[in-house]
Subunit: 107 residues, 2 copies
């Protein structure tokens, strides 16, 4: 008996994009600073916040702090959620939720 | 000297809507079951998942599990994020992020 395994070919959307900020386990303010810097110093008109698992709520915190405290003209243009398949230390696959928050400012 | 305090009048959007499922600290499967029941037994064509703070990532998990495992025809129609002002046990105000995930099925 053979088992069928369907593999999703991972899209190459994780290309090096300097407008993408990955949100992890640091305090939210670290990421707020990164977003504001990206908008102000680097002249970007869009920033994408990406996060997985428990960091998802921190990504939302970051977007909200930027929008409410630092850059009132920043808008949430789009939010996407998805599922990523990850291999843990024991070599087993597990699914983890992900989020992408698209922030823009009018230039 | 008088301090100005601007109070945002809370919109009455939290009206009793049976299509709203509040995601808290239970295991994600509890909420998955609630969503599937809402769609299947109660004949709804839309369900709104709401969560605050750390439960935000669980709300995303719930939406993804419903969509990928149980109801392949369910779609994420819209996602909104916001900030809610809450009063903690000590009587101080703190801001907490919130999310609303709008799920729909074609009937």
């Amino acid at each position: 008996m053979t088992e069928k395994t369907t593999k999703k070919s991972k899209k190459d959307e994780e290309k090096a994009d300097e407008n993408v900020i990955f949100v992890g386990n640091k305090p939210p303010m670290s990421y707020v600073l990164a977003v504001v810097t990206q908008f102000n110093s680097n002249g970007s008109d869009r920033v994408i916040l990406k996060a997985r698992g428990r960091a998802i709520s921190r990504a939302v915190d970051t977007a909200e702090i930027v929008r409410n405290k630092f850059m009132k003209d920043a808008k949430v243009k789009d939010i996407k959620i998805g599922t990523e398949s990850m291999t843990n230390e024991e070599g087993r696959n597990s699914n983890v939720s992900s989020i992408e928050i698209y922030l823009t400012i009018n230039t």
